[in-house]
């Protein structure tokens, strides 16, 4: 137990297990782009960070992040699912749990591990054994009707992110309506809008992680 009044994140980080945050969503929705935006935003707030990426049979997303220059490449681990991506984040998350444990052993004091799932479908969800909090990323290019389809990923995640908001007028999506329908199917639970190309909306995602996961505010 940590007594009230001794709650600074930096003071507690060295003694506590790292928070594990999942990022799932359909292929091409912008999961890796979100990770690339979150890394510098979290680093700027002094968050000690590591990343795990999941791909089908390659380490392509991990290599992309390692080469980005945003983070020490040693802090990026790759898991190859070899099958449907949800199998290693839900049915048997052992590979990802081991990867996260290994990062915590190698980097004592790491506060937050982002686990990016391989691109999947709307039914993809994360096991609570693996993550403390998980986000589901969809994008307007996939269609404004995605929230109405009530996929388990859309409905059950802790935070739904609607990405590529800048594309809405070009693909005939009423973004305001899509946002409202997303809130409705989630009974008002959080839905945030982002444009990961420009960085718009990223601060709100980081603020939610600071409040609900890192307990900084």
């Amino acid at each position: 137990m940590i007594e009230a009044g001794k709650t600074s994140a930096t003071a507690t980080a060295a003694r506590l297990p790292a928070a594990r945050v999942g990022i799932g969503g359909p292929v091409g929705s912008g999961k890796t782009a979100l990770v690339e935006r979150l890394i510098p935003a979290l680093a700027a707030r002094g968050v000690d960070l590591a990343v795990i990426t999941n791909d089908l049979v390659t380490a392509e997303d991990a290599e992309r992040i390692r080469r980005s220059g945003l983070i020490d490449p040693a802090r990026v681990s790759a898991v190859e699912a070899g099958a449907c991506p949800h199998t290693v984040i839900r049915e048997d998350p052992t590979l990802n749990i081991e990867a996260a444990d290994e990062l915590e052993r190698r980097f004592p004091g790491v506060e937050l591990i982002l686990l990016e799932s391989g691109g999947d479908n709307l039914a993809s969800t994360f096991s609570r054994d693996l993550t403390d909090f998980w986000m589901f990323v969809i994008d307007v290019g996939g269609g404004g009707d995605i929230p109405r389809k009530r996929g388990p990923g859309v409905v059950r995640c802790d935070l739904l992110v609607i990405n590529k908001t800048d594309l809405a007028p070009h693909v005939g999506v009423d973004l305001e309506l899509m946002h409202a329908q997303a809130l409705a199917v989630r009974d008002g639970r959080p839905v945030l809008l982002t444009n990961c190309r420009s960085g718009e909306g990223i601060d709100a995602v980081v603020a939610m992680l600071e409040s609900q996961v890192l307990f900084r505010a």
Partner: protein, 149 residues
Amino acid sequence: MLRLHGIVGHETDTSLRAQLHALEHRGAIELLFVPPEEAGRKRFRLISDRGTDCAVSLGRDEELRDGALLHLDRERAIVVRFGRQRLWKLRPADETAALKLGWHAGNLHWRVRFEAGCLVVLIDGPLADYRARLADLLSDGSVTEIAYD
């Protein structure tokens, strides 16, 4: 915000009985209601019944239980209370229906228990969403709803 890490005991621990009894007399036991479907979380933030903002994390090998003590000192104790788990009890009409019902439950990753010829589904969301998945089996009488509680 009260930052809490780890489970410090259980409300039934005999070694803590006297201390908890004294706190109870002073009205200093706070309850933290955790929805059953969230019981697997290792990190969460909830408000206690006395209004305390609790930021809770657990060790990876710790499992939250009803009655778990998350905080105990001279001033107060904070005890976990699980909200009631809702159960949906279903009876298949025959072996064929049972196979179909089992296939659906497994394919949909439902949490289930088995009870004397019945499948008991531990409900994690609106019942209507569950009924919709079995609409055909329910409408043709292959599966009968026995109870929802």
